[in-house]
Symmetry: C2
Subunit: 327 residues, 2 copies
C-alpha cells in the first residue's frame, strides 16, 4: 500500500511547488490538497493532471475527513506582513487551529511536517541566526499574529513529539521568492517586479539598508523535499532553510531598475517593526542535508521571477501598481 | 442594567479570589463562572452564596452560550510546570482556543481581561524585566506550551485591539502563592508546605539559588481588581504584576524549616529550563495603579499559607508527600 499524503496550503506559493515534487513520487497512493485560496490561487495547480490528487477548497482549520494520512505537510498560512497584519485572527487560526485539526487526521506512525519561519527570531540581535537562538519577538506588536502563531505551532508539535512520540519535521524558512509569488504579495521582490511592470516606480521603505536572505524557490523546495520525505533523517527540527547570502532591499531594487529600463526607485517611510536583518545560520542544514546549497544567485533568481511575472501574471493585468502598504 | 461578567477559570487559585472580589460589586447583574476543575476545585467557591453567580463546569474552549458579556476575565489555564508539561496540548487549547471562544461572547464595547505570565520572558537575560523586554523563550522546549500559548494569546488580544478596537487588559503575573494553592501544585511554596506537613523533607531542585518574586495572592488580586474593573484606566497592557522582592528558593525552604520544627531540606537534581531568575520591573505598575504595593512580606505570606494548608487541606489528607516531578 502506498502513502496517503495531505498538503495544507498546497495551492499557495511554496505549497504548490511542494505538490509539483510530490506528484513525482511513486510510493504515494493519494494526495489530498487543502487550500482556501486566501493567498493561494487555482492556477498554481493548473498544470497537474495526476489522478491521485484530490483538491478540497477549505480552511485548513475546518477541513474534515474520516481518512487518515501517513504524511501531513502544513503550509497553510499567509507569509507576507500586509496579508497577516490585515487578518491576524485568521492567521492564528490557519497556523495553530490548522495544526490541531491536522493532527487529528494523522495515521499512527505518521509524520507532520510544518513550515515555520525565520520570523520566530523576530528582530534578531545576533547574525546569522542559529536554530538555538531564542528570538526577539514583540508578542504584542503588529507582526505578532504570524510570529507568535508560528512559535506556538512549533511548541504544539514539539510537545506532541515529546509527550506522544509524534514524528515531526519543522523547518524555519527564511525569505523565499520566485515564480508563483503573488504580484500583490507585498514583500520586496514581488512589489518591485509588479511596480517595474506597471508604473515603473519601485518603492523602498526606510533607508533600504534592511537586508534579507533571499532564497529562490527551487533551491528551498529542494531542501524541503529532502527533509520532509526523501532523505532518511531522524532530526525533528527546528531546521533553518534559506539562502545565507544577505542582500539589502535597496540592492534588489537597483538591480531591477537595471533589468527593466525606465524604472526608478522611490524612497518611502519605514514600516513599523520591520526587522533590520535576517540571515540563516546554515551549519545544521548543511549537516542534515549534505550537499545541499542555495545555488541560484539573486541576479539569476530575480531574472527568472521577472520573466514569470511578465509572461504569466502581468499579461492582461491592469496596468496599476499594487497599493502601498497601509497598517 | 448592571453588567454581565464571565470568569473563565473562576474555581482556580487566582480565579476564585477574583470571584470573591467580583461578588462585592453592586454594578453587576450576573456572574457566570466557567471551570472544568482541571486545576480548580469546587471548594474554592464553596463560601459564595451570591444568587447572581451561575457556575458552569466546562472547558473554556468548549463553553457555549447565547449570552453576551460586558466583561470577560480569562484565567483558565494551569500555571504550574508539572501540570502544563503533562498536558501541553490541553494547555494550549485552554489559553488560546479559550480566548478565541470567549471573544465570540463579548458584548459590543465589552472588555476582555487576560492573565498572562512572566513566563513570556522565558529565562531572562535582564533583571528586573520591564514589559518591553521581548523575552528568552525556547519555543521548542518542555515549558513552551504554557509560555508560547500565553504569548500567542497576548498577540491575539492585542491584534483584536489593534484591528477591531476590542477593549483589553493584559497582565503578566509573576509567581503567586497563598491560600487555595493546590497542595499538589508542584511549585516551590506549596511543595514545601505539603512536604513540611507530611514527610518533613523539603525538596529543592538544583542549587536552590534560582530566585522568584513571590507575590502573596491578596496583594496580587488587589492589583487585578483595580486594573481589570475598579480604576478608570485606559492602558490596555501588558502590565507586570507581582512582588519585586526576589527571594531564592533555598531561602523559602529554610524559612519553612524554621516555621515547622523537625523538617529538613533535601537537594535534588535541577529541572530542565527552570529559569534562574524572575523579577518584575514594577515602574509601570506603580504608575498605572498609584499607591498599590505588594505589602505582605514573604515571611507573613508563607505563615498565612501554611496555616491554611494545615487547617484546611491537610486535615484528614493522607500523610503522603506529593510525588517528585517527573518530566
Amino acid at each position: 500500500m502506498g502513502k496517503k499524503v495531505l498538503v495544507a496550503g498546497g495551492a499557495g506559493f511554496i505549497g504548490s511547488h511542494i505538490v509539483d515534487r510530490l506528484v513525482k513520487r511513486s510510493d504515494m497512493d493519494s494526495l489530498v490538497v487543502v487550500d482556501n485560496f486566501w493567498t493561494g490561487v487555482p492556477d498554481n495547480l493548473a498544470g497537474i493532471t495526476d489522478p491521485r490528487l484530490h483538491f478540497v477548497q477549505c480552511d485548513v482549520e475546518n477541513f474534515a475527513t474520516a481518512e487518515k494520512f501517513d504524511e501531513i505537510l502544513h503550509l497553510a498560512s499567509p507569509a507576507s506582513p500586509p496579508w497577516y497584519m490585515r487578518e491576524p485572527v485568521r492567521t492564528i487560526k490557519a497556523n495553530l487551529l490548522g495544526a490541531l485539526n491536522l493532527l487529528e487526521m494523522l495515521a499512527p506512525g505518521g509524520r507532520v511536517s510544518f513550515a515555520s519561519t525565520s520570523e520566530v527570531y523576530g528582530d534578531p540581535k545576533i547574525t546569522p541566526q542559529p536554530e538555538t537562538y531564542k528570538g526577539q519577538v514583540d508578542c504584542t506588536g503588529p507582526r505578532s499574529s504570524y510570529d507568535e502563531s508560528k512559535r506556538c505551532t512549533e511548541s504544539l508539535l514539539f510537545e506532541m513529539h515529546r509527550t506522544q512520540g509524534v514524528d515531526i519535521r519543522i523547518v524555519r524558512l527564511f525569505n523565499v521568492y520566485g515564480p508563483r509569488t503573488r504580484p500583490d504579495d507585498g514583500r520586496a521582490v514581488s512589489n518591485f517586479l509588479s511596480q517595474a511592470l506597471t508604473n515603473g516606480k519601485l518603492t523602498v521603505y526606510g533607508d533600504g539598508q534592511q537586508s534579507r536572505s533571499w532564497g529562490y524557490v527551487d533551491d528551498i523546495v529542494d531542501a524541503l523535499e529532502r527533509y520532509f520525505w526523501l532523505d532518511d533523517i531522524d532530526y525533528v527540527g527546528p531546521l533553518n532553510v534559506g539562502n545565507d547570502r544577505e542582500v539589502s532591499v535597496i540592492d534588489i531594487a537597483n538591480y531591477i531598475t537595471q533589468l527593466v529600463p525606465g524604472t526608478i526607485v522611490e524612497m518611502c517611510p519605514p514600516i513599523p517593526q520591520d526587522p533590520t536583518n535576517r540571515r540563516p545560520d546554515l551549519t545544521l542544514c548543511r549537516k542534515i542535508l549534505p550537499g545541499w546549497e542555495a545555488r541560484v544567485s539573486y541576479e539569476e533568481g530575480i531574472k527568472r521571477t521577472f520573466e514569470w511575472f511578465r509572461d504569466t501574471v502581468m499579461k492582461g493585468a491592469e496596468t496599476e501598481a499594487p497599493s502601498p502598504i497601509r497598517l
